[in-house]
Every structure is written in structure tokens, then in C-alpha cells.
Amino acid sequence: MGLSNLLRAASVLVALVSATQVLGQVTPDSDDDTNIVVNATLDRLHALGDAVEAYRQLGAEWAGATKCDLRRLCPDEQFTVQVSSTYVHLLFSPAAHTPIRLAAFPLSAIRTASIRYGPLPTKGTAEYNYVRLQRSLSFISAQASPERQQLYRFPDPNDNPFLPWPPHLPSSVADVSRSFQTRTTLGEIASQIRSRIMVRGYDTLQYFSVPGGFAMATDLERVGRRGPVRAGDRWTSGKRGGFGSLMDYWRRLLVGEDDRFRVFVFIVTDMDVQNDQDTAKADDLRRWKATGRPSLSRQRASVTALPGTRIWLYAYEFTASRSKGAELIQNERDPLRITQNKMALGLP
């Protein structure tokens, strides 16, 4: 079983049904930490988000655990499988970037699955756990529906790149599902959103994969605090110069430019999205711009949205720091209300 299949299977595991349902039993010696996932996650279809949350809750346990980096056993350097005493953690580790947590799930499921597969190697803990993982996941992945496998698949070269997950803490967020028809394919949902916001000038969009769906992000947009900005300035981020009135000139002279900037991210998924605690940084904006694709991949667009799919509008608002090394910082002082952001997009 190759690494890519292994990781696909891992994603399926956390998105799939209960370990109890799949394997017919639960290890009786499951500890409390394991129960966080077994009881709250694996018997639900929103497993990935809950698994990540469980991973967070296990911060203290993680620090004390014997970590086992199995990268040397994995031919693909982008992924790391770490095994602690109770959990398997899957990390996506792009070169020169901080690893992104993709999933965490209990070893108990693996222990249980191993019962069905004869003797395991005993020469090393790392290899032992790795083989358990392989065997368990290959069995469990066979139980997943093709659509769910598709949408919970790990980054795939033919698919859109992953939006860092969970998403950064937004300036404001809203459920805008009622403005769109969600009982259709993801491609159709993307088309509905695109046609709705294009008339408002949002003609450049970046598409990403997210667990259970996709995300689309608009370009960085300048928003004037006092009246609209000129069309030529709307999609720029540097100092724009000029002035509109004597009062405006005086304010620029004394205080400097104080424009707002914002990025909208539509997240379409069947998961209950739980945000990261970190705010978005200028680097994140650059990364979104650099890695996003201009359209949804054919394979993802053709998949029918999973039951319970909702459309979330994330608004990230920034201001430019006025220091010498000017950069965009998330505006936590006086962000726009979500209703103002929805109005800008033409949403009710």
C-alpha cells in the first residue's frame, strides 16, 4: 500500500463511520483520551474537524508522549505520520512551512483492526505501528463511499490545493447557504457563487480543497473608510496618494492613509467548521494567492455536495501598518459588520 493510498485511507477513516460500526467492536481498555474521539467523532460524519479538535485537547498528553516520526518509512516527504501512545497524527509538511495538522485518530481502532490480519512484525515499535496503521486503513477505506473518499482525500496533484485547515480566525463570518442552492454538484455551487459576486467586480477567484467541499477566495480588495475608492485603486494595496477634500488631505497629512483591505473566503463543506485561534497574516494572503487555482478541479466539481453541506462566508479584514516595513495586519479594532460585507457581495 503506497503512502498516498495510506493517507487517503487515513482521511477516510476520520470521515467515516464509527470504528465500532466498521470493526464490530471497541477495545475495552480505551482510555479517556481515546473516548473523546471514539464517542464524539468516529460515529459522526463530521469526523475530521472533531478529530482536529481532539488533537488540540490532547496538547498536554501529546507533549509527554513518546513521539515516533515515521517519515523515514514514508517515501513522500510532504507527509508525516506521528504515533503517540494513544493517537495517530497525520501532518502535511510542505517544504519550509510549518506542518499543517490534517487529522488525529485513536490507536484503538488500529489495534482492533489488527485482529483481523494475522501476526504483526515485532522488530520495532515504529514499524509495528506503521504496519498496523496500513492494515487497518486498507480495511476501513474499503467501506467508504466513493464520494466521501473523494471529498475527504488528502492533497492530490490533480485536485485543488488544500486551504490551511482549520481556517484562520476571520474578522466576521456568516452562514450564507440560504442564498444558494446546495443540493447539487460542487461545481454548480461554485458557479452560483461566482455569478452572484462577479457582477460586484469580484472576477478573480482562487479555489481550494477543504475537507468535504471546497473554498474560494477573492483577491485582496481596498475598501475606503470614507466613501468608495477609485476603480483603479480597488485592487491595489500600496499607498494610493492624492486626496478627495481638504479634510481628507489634512487627515492624510496628520494621520496617514487608513484604508481597510479585505478578502472574502467562501467555504463550502458539510463539516461544522471550527476556526483556528490564529488570525490571518500577510503571508497567508500571499500563500493563498500563490497556491490557489483559478477554477475548481474537474474531479471535485463533479461530485454532488454531501448532505448537510453549508456555505460559509468568511471575511478577513486588514489595515496597513504605518511603520517603515509596512504590512497588512488583521483589523481587530473596528472591522466592518458582516451585513456590510454581505451587502458588498450582493447577498441578502
Binding site: G238, K239, R240, G241, G242, F243, Y249, R252, L253, L254, V255, G256, S321, R322, S323, K324, A326
Partner: protein, 136 residues
């Protein structure tokens, strides 16, 4: 016009200009215009003002002879010191006033003008020095 009066006139012009620029820059700093780098505009401004102000204050605080004080100033030296000073002050003022309408950041503007202003500051100091030391 006596040398003493000419010197005092140039000093007053510089004192008024320095006070206005200092208050204005301080107001900008307090309003947050320069974010975490308030030292940059203050450094730039002090480089334009401190050398000539130091020379003028030293001349005022010293005790020249009564003859020097009462002697008539050489017209060309006075005109030169006054003109060079006014050019410098107006150039500083224009730099501040034009910055908001440029697309260049104030920091970049200070960086790009500091060389020219420093050279001109040397000229101003020489002209004012000619006025101060003439006949002492």
C-alpha cells in the same frame, strides 16, 4: 542693519520654523502616522535643523565686542544667509506638505531626500557662519 540685529533676525526665523516643524512632527507621531518608527521623521528633521540652530545659538550666547555688535552688516552676507535659510525652511515645509499626495511612503521620501537636504544644510551653515564670524 547692525550685525547683532541681522543675527537675531536669522535666529528668530530658525527658532519659529524649528518650533513649528517640531510641534507638527510630534503631532504626526502622536496621531500614529509613523506607526512603530517615530524615530525616522524626528531624525530626518533634526538633521535639517540642529547644525544651523547650534551655530546661531552659540553666536547669540557668546559675547562679541561692542564694535562687532554695532557695526553694519555686510549686505551680501546677510542676504545670502537669509536666502539660504529660507530656501531650506521652505524645502522642509514642501516635503511635509507634498507627502500625503504622493504614492511614495513618508519613510521612502525621507530616505530619498536626506542626501540633498544634508548637502544644502552644509551650504546654509556656511552662509550663516559667514554672517556670524564676519569681523569677529
Amino acid at each position: 542693519m547692525t550685525r547683532q540685529a541681522a543675527l537675531q533676525r536669522v535666529l528668530v526665523i530658525w527658532l519659529i520654523a524649528a518650533a513649528i516643524f517640531a510641534v507638527f512632527t510630534l503631532a504626526q507621531v502622536l496621531a500614529g502616522k509613523y506607526g512603530d518608527d517615530p524615530g525616522v521623521p524626528l531624525n530626518w528633521l533634526s538633521a535639517q535643523i540642529v547644525p544651523v540652530m547650534g551655530l546661531l545659538l552659540a553666536a547669540t550666547l557668546s559675547s562679541p565686542s561692542a564694535n562687532w555688535k554695532k557695526a553694519q552688516v555686510t549686505g551680501s552676507r546677510y542676504q545670502l544667509a537669509l536666502t539660504a535659510s529660507l530656501v531650506q525652511i521652505i524645502a522642509i515645509l514642501i516635503t511635509f506638505l507634498i507627502e500625503p499626495i504622493l504614492q511614495t511612503s513618508p519613510f521612502a521620501l525621507f530616505d530619498s531626500t536626506i542626501v540633498f537636504f544634508s548637502i544644502w544644510q552644509g551650504v546654509v551653515t556656511a552662509c550663516v557662519g559667514g554672517l556670524v564670524f564676519d569681523g569677529r
